[in-house]
Symmetry: C2
């Protein structure tokens, strides 16, 4: 249970997670067998079930890993001492970048999350809800300060924006011309402009 991963964490767990993330992203959770995962990771099923409770567990770990990263980054940006519009812009651009930097995890998260059993799904939904609300609060703050238009629901705008983010995996190719940073800036700009108070 409480495996002491002190010092340098042995790579087997991470190799398993990486393999699972890759395969889940490519073929989907249900069409990927545990056998394929362990073969890609260069171990056997015994090793996988030594570190993870189930196939579902792998999926949840992938999701949590991504969300932890993104939550921390959002928290850092949202808490900075900048005007709220700049914080929103930075947060919006950053979530695009971090999504593209962890695209396998991200694709798994939005495509296969619903395959988790009830309890695990509830946990995961709670974490995602918190993230959503943290972002939405930024918009609401801007609305309260009068620097963002108030005739659009902050909740709706947040949903719309994250929809665009979650959709990244279905068209982005790392070998294309667009860089994660440039996509992030464009997305953030579209959001900010959409929320500009009418002049």
């Amino acid at each position: 249970m409480a495996t002491a991963t002190r010092g340098a964490a042995p790579p087997v767990q991470e190799r398993l997670l990486a393999a699972a993330s890759r395969l889940f992203a490519e073929r989907g959770f249900a069409l990927t067998s545990v056998q394929e995962i362990v073969e890609r990771a260069g171990v056997t099923k015994g090793a996988m079930y030594h570190y993870y409770a189930s196939k579902d567990d792998l999926l949840q770990q992938i999701y949590t890993r991504l969300l932890d990263v993104q939550s921390a980054r959002l928290e850092a940006i949202a808490g900075a001492g900048l005007p709220v519009r700049e914080r929103l812009r930075a947060a919006a651009a950053d979530v695009v970048v971090s999504t593209l930097e962890n695209l396998d995890d991200a694709m798994v998260s939005w495509r296969s999350m619903h395959m988790l059993p009830q309890e695990r799904l509830a946990q995961v939904r709670l974490e995602r809800r918190r993230y959503h609300e943290r972002f939405r609060a930024l918009i609401e703050q801007g609305q309260d300060q009068g620097v963002l238009r108030t005739d659009v629901s902050a909740d709706l705008a947040t949903h719309q924006f994250f929809g665009g983010v979650h959709h990244l995996g279905s068209w982005y190719h790392a070998d294309g011309e667009l860089t994660p940073a440039s996509i992030g800036e464009t997305f953030a700009d579209l959001l900010l402009r959409g929320l500009d108070p009418s002049g």
Copy 2:
């Protein structure tokens, strides 16, 4: 193959499609058995395999059915004799409405499409690409006419917007306060404002 559905189409095919769409939307493609589908439709597997080649076939039909509806509506709106900004606004609002009117199909489409085998997936992707391009052309037209800003890629804006649309199924509830029409108007407004030329 070429089943003659002359006259009034018997309802069995449709009942099967409806049952499949519902169950795929609820539990996902992989976690839904053919047995469950036919039970919900009130028939047996013999009937299903009489009308559909495979479980995959059902999935593809669901996708095609939705996209056909949306393509026709987009074509009608895009071809109307209105200023391009109004056509874009109407098209954007309408795709939200039609998505929410066919939410089961829509959820299946964006959650389970990747489970199709190569060939079917290629077909489906082609159809979706055409739809995407038709919408994008509206934005490009507005840019050419100088009524939409040109410093944002029409392709990126289209991806971002459709992301928001595809994401609808993960938060929308029919019993909430928001109506499909109001959501559509808000989404369209955010898109149009985001693409407004800077004044």
